[in-house]
Symmetry: C2
């Protein structure tokens, strides 16, 4: 019914994502990665039993992983109706990007103050990996690593709540990029990442923030959020037919 998930023996511990933690971490990482690489299209139903069989664990574990993914906004949990891969609307995407601008600005300023030599080293290493992935043509890994770069930057800012929020934002951004990115262009230029690291290492807050904002602009501009090609949101598709009377037509319910 859905596209087939690659079967997986339960002892395949260290998956591609490499995170060796507990069982739900593995399940979480694999599903997340599958979504980013678009092996799981937005809207795809994520049956608990099917996933349990695939990963060789019970529904309990799957359920926890799905709950976590839902919390980060990449999966939508509909009561009594199961989980589906989230398909953020254009409006939701805009909100995520607005929030990210705010957070990235703050993170950059904090990172300029708090980033250690060790942090900077790791950041440079991550950009390397990112570049490698893109040169290998592994788009999914590239998107993921690019996200992890921004997450690592948040860690360098040394503020736990911001890190947690950034994790959620990066996840959603990755999903949005995977869904909306226009064609073939690399989505997150690692050059910009490198320049950013340089500015942070030089403790030049103004320059660093400047670069980060430009970076956000570039990400924005690579997406065609203005005119999405195809949508499963009927209200969006036929919005030109609907008279806009007030804004309380349908507060948040979609589909």
């Amino acid at each position: 019914m859905n596209e087939q998930l690659q079967p997986l023996k339960k002892q395949t511990r260290a998956g591609k994502a490499g995170r060796s933690g507990t069982q739900d971490d593995i399940v979480y990482a694999h599903i997340f990665e599958a979504i980013l690489e678009q092996r799981l299209a937005p809207g795809t139903k994520l049956s608990e039993e099917a996933l349990g069989e695939i990963f060789g664990v019970s529904r309990t574990i799957i359920r926890r992983a799905l709950s976590r993914l839902a919390h980060e906004g990449v999966v939508l949990l509909r009561p009594n109706r199961g989980a589906v891969v989230a398909s953020p609307s254009v409006e939701e995407a805009r909100q995520v990007f607005l929030a990210r601008r705010l957070v990235e600005k703050a993170i950059t300023e904090l990172a300029v103050v708090h980033a250690t030599a060790e942090d900077l080293l790791q950041l440079r290493k991550m950009v390397q990996d990112e570049r490698d992935s893109f040169s290998r043509g592994d788009r999914g890994a590239g998107i993921r690593l690019s996200g992890e770069f921004h997450l690592k930057l948040a860690e360098a800012a040394k503020n736990a709540p911001l890190i947690s929020f950034q994790r959620s934002l990066v996840s959603q951004t990755s999903l949005i990029i995977a869904q909306y990115e226009s064609g073939n262009r690399s989505h997150c230029s690692y050059d910009e990442h490198m320049q950013l690291i340089d500015a942070i290492e030089a403790r030049d807050a103004t320059q660093a923030v400047h670069l980060m904002m430009h970076h956000m602009d570039h990400i924005d501009s690579k997406l065609n959020l203005d005119e999405e090609s195809a949508s499963d949101d009927l209200h969006a598709v036929f919005s030109h037919l609907l008279q806009t009377k007030g804004k309380s037509t349908r507060p948040s319910a979609k589909l």
Copy 2:
């Protein structure tokens, strides 16, 4: 062993918090409220079975509620060792407040643009409730309602990710206030809330942000974060004895 939780029959649906949702919402709300009202002291162990018996539900439900509370940072989930009420350190409190400043500023600016008449009406009503609670001497409810005011403000800003983040920050802030607030002074002056609403209604962004920042200052100043009276963090208590060699002494482990 712990202080006794007030027993609760299972059909006590609409609890004090009033949220009439599903079972885990009820459990969640009650535990959260108990923490805010300091009926559950920081560090208190939250046994799954005990809670299950109290609320008349199975551990499954309790587990979900605890997981949610852990996500919001008011409960600490230690693998294989159960859940305890979080006891944020001074450093953690500072991080939360820093993050809140950022977010509240952004929310205020957005609310000035997006708040509807309906939003403003509800906000005023919430300030009323808050004042009533304090005049009744119900400190726990006051703290909670004050938090809900800031959450409602986030909703008026019309940005889903920020709302979600604000929920987490407000929860943690409430816990910190309950834990650190110096004595008897009311912690969150509703007058300031009212002025804030006025500024937003007047669409005066500069003034609104100005008021909000002052409001944050006031909250900060009412807490004695600089010299906490007693701590259960041995490392903090004896920090003057420890030579600070590098930062890798104990990354995140506490207690």
